[in-house]
Symmetry: C2
Subunit: 257 residues, 2 copies
């Protein structure tokens, strides 16, 4: 259910689960996967040799926060850290765009989740005209080398784009106005955001084209149904961990001096 | 007096000042340059848009500490920070080799001096066999892209290798044993160090070959006479600043509302 095509047209990619997927069944499966994730994370932490970086990107209201809750609640928080990247501080702006990102990459044994990421520096910055195309190109290259550096140090990098439809986004943003438990998420200008879709689509598509090497592809996931997106992320994460196959280290107890 | 040749044979490069350079005269010139540096650093700091990274590498007792004192004393310490990279901590080892380095790169307006640097991870690590040639190659590439990233963000990167002769090093190391004010620098194994020269030369030469793009060359300096090395570093730094030509920003006082 993920695409890593070099040339992506977001308007042609699904925003809803495939027909054969059913909510109740998927949720049951999801519970199973989460149990597996708990076990795998423990092993990763105990092994203490490799790590995982989950990068989440998507339009406003595409469901990033909820997804993190759905996938990572229940996993030992000692081994999981979530970082949100908002507008950079003055100090961060005084450095290269990867400076603040690099400080938050996972050490051995850890799973870090980036709620937005270094990709913002080739997305919103382009839409609002803070950087030109030449700078974007330099940054694509820098990002690819940066992710390669992490991979070479034992970090598995998983990148997810939450593909929400304009209609669904509009409904969710409206909900932020009317639903008291969601009003805190409302920001002035939310209602303007849908107008920038074509521009955001263009720069996102450029990211998928430029920063999706076979070793570090983007996973573009339908995001109109939250249960399905969470399932896909959890499944991909579980598969990545199974592939890494971290092992408990030999006990020091049983080794005689 | 600096070399940026792609193929370097350290045994053939000078360790002493050129004949025409005289100590007293050079020291006078050095005082002048230091005054210029004070002024340039103030402008760089006030402009607050670009930065400088000075990377110092060299064998033990090649004179890195003294050089920092000779070149940077007198410059406003608010705009200068020196970082020494020693054996990495457990937390640092749990990340990629550039993680701890990136945290210490200069922000706008700053001059950072690295007393040893990310290059240790392709030097001592190779000599003691912690990494193989393939990993070294990956790291050379990562270093080049890392330095490019810094440059693109407005950091001028100046890399100096202090080329000391084996004989001079031996004398300095012996001085650490006999001179009470230098004994704190003595470390067990110092006397073994000269034995590893051929191996260190080999890996250093590899660094000069692999990590000296025209935009970010190594400066290999004779280092048997400390007054001369300091002069060369100060001069190169002054020239780099003159080239950058940082300017005081327009005063907010004189701008009417």
């Amino acid at each position: 259910m993920s695409s890593t095509l070099p040339d992506v047209d977001l308007t042609k990619l699904p925003t809803r689960a495939p027909k054969h997927m059913h909510k109740a069944e998927t949720k049951r499966e999801m519970r199973k996967i989460r149990e597996e994730l708990v076990e795998w994370q423990e092993r990763l932490y105990a092994e203490n040799k490799r790590s995982i970086l989950v990068v989440l990107q998507g339009m406003d209201a595409s469901g990033k926060d909820g997804l993190i809750r759905r996938v990572f609640s229940g996993i030992n928080p000692q081994g999981v850290r979530v970082y949100s990247f908002k507008e950079p501080t003055k100090e961060e702006l005084a450095h290269d765009f990867l400076w603040r990102i690099h400080q938050r990459t996972p050490g051995h044994g850890m799973v870090h989740v980036f709620n937005r990421s270094h990709y913002e520096d080739v997305l919103i910055t382009r839409v609002v005209g803070l950087i030109d195309d030449a700078t974007a190109k330099q940054r694509f290259e820098a990002i690819n080398h940066f992710e390669k550096l992490l991979q070479q140090a034992g970090t598995t990098v998983l990148k997810f784009y939450l593909n929400v439809s304009e209609k669904e986004q509009e409904e969710r943003l409206a909900d932020r106005v009317s639903n008291p438990s969601k009003q805190w998420k409302y920001e002035p200008g939310d209602d303007q955001k849908t107008k920038q879709w074509p521009e955001y689509r263009r720069v996102y598509q450029d990211v998928f084209r430029q920063c999706s090497p076979p070793t570090c592809p983007w996973h573009i996931l339908p995001a109109d149904q939250k249960w399905y997106t969470a399932y896909e992320v959890a499944r991909t994460l579980r598969d990545a961990l199974a592939e890494m196959d971290p092992a408990y280290p030999e006990s020091k107890l049983t080794r005689p001096e």
